[in-house]
Symmetry: C2
Subunit: 260 residues, 2 copies
Amino acid sequence: MSNNGEARDPALVQSVDRAVAVLELLARNGEAGITEIAAELGVHKSSASRLVYTLQARELVEQDGERGPFRIGIGMLRFAGAVTGQLDYVRVGGPVCTALAERLGETVNIAVLDNDVALNVSQAWGSSAVAAQNWVGQRTPLHATSSGKVLLAAAPPAEQDRLLSGELESCAPRTITDPVRLRTVLRRTAEDGFATCMEELEAGLHAVAVPVFGSQGDVVAAISAAGPAYRLSQKRMPAIVEELRVASRDLSVRMGHPVL
Amino acid sequence: MSNNGEARDPALVQSVDRAVAVLELLARNGEAGITEIAAELGVHKSSASRLVYTLQARELVEQDGERGPFRIGIGMLRFAGAVTGQLDYVRVGGPVCTALAERLGETVNIAVLDNDVALNVSQAWGSSAVAAQNWVGQRTPLHATSSGKVLLAAAPPAEQDRLLSGELESCAPRTITDPVRLRTVLRRTAEDGFATCMEELEAGLHAVAVPVFGSQGDVVAAISAAGPAYRLSQKRMPAIVEELRVASRDLSVRMGHPVL
DNA sequence: CCCTCCGTTGCGTATTACGGAACACGATGT
DNA sequence: ACATCGTGTTCCGTAATACGCAACGGAGGG
């Protein structure tokens, strides 16, 4: 990765941009040392050290004791709180996710459309998956996730064209990379009112999603259940979709969008 | 506020420090314009504009449309996810908070000891409080909150002495600022197994907290309920404490600390 | 005990971010 | 309709500032 080949926007404040890059690196790796950070960003150790020191002073970064690798710090919760205060999905969606996750025993997520990707804003773990991955804040491709398909299927035609204009990246062996086939799938999604995703994002991972409606009947988010392929079988899908629909209506009501 | 009177640490990277200050300002105010930000930080408009632009490019800051005030951006969720992945209280505590908040109809928080303050790591809103404040990530003084008292009462004597060595800041008319009186309260807290906070943080705000125990029987966190004084009356306290204790045990179990 | 690896500290330089002023764009109000 | 105010952005010259370098101080490992 090192120094990005593409010339960076000169209007950017370099050190701030680097500092955020440090945070993103830590969010991705979990933890890292100064040397590793410096190598990854393509800067000198001393520069990395100062950046981290500054972030540490603000508690955005922390380390185990006096010595050791660095992680994202607790001070970040301040900002997380600020964003949840605005995004109703997070605040209101939490309880809905939790309830559904417990009922299904699978991981439940709420995602919204953010630019060209599906952004997971809320998550609850099913009883079974202890070591399940944390998807909150993760951006996932629209064409390779159940939530993404739901959001995509509901987008206005012009927007849909724009989103499908680029290459469809292959994430797993069964990812749909053919635009024509994807459009067929999206049409069916719009008709059925739900979308599935069978090992298209990750091998062995199945998921199913339904839309969440806003006050004008527009799709504002998607709620999905995900789990290992053997547990989310084709046969079980209808039952899960029904549960998801109930949760979706619950969510809509809680967000002040009475059922139409 | 403007330029801090105290000379800043020269080892800090100035622009990064300022950028974080922007984020903290936004987290505090909810939203702000460039001019306001510049004034608050004591920098020129152009400087503020560049800082915000850089943060915006990384989606840590966003604005309504093309024009308008800035807020904390959705990209912040990436980091929020990274910290929740480490802090079990957040992940596991969420459902517990939600359940209790629904049952009580009041706001429920989980807080841990972070340096010299109580840090709220998880929160759920009660049905009644629509416009309630978001405390997640907020640092609250140990001597003026119910959670703080619980955490303080459980701290080893040496640590307790250290934490009480400074001045006890007065947050509201009824804040306990007398160290002697506070120590008496803390003794009672340790005996009773819960602490209250009656208009000591904010006028009209009552709260009550109980400890959450770790595997060694040590106090690792506090769970509290808060609400308007007229609703959290003295009479209602015993019932709430009982509910809190149930939730606390639930939380301990979920975190892998079987009841002793 | 030496050697290696990691992170920090001083230092000189030139990159870089800053502040100033002019500019562009809407929103107001008269 | 126009003028005026208040936004936020852009350009530019300067010097403050952050960078890279190299040397240093500590931990751990052989």
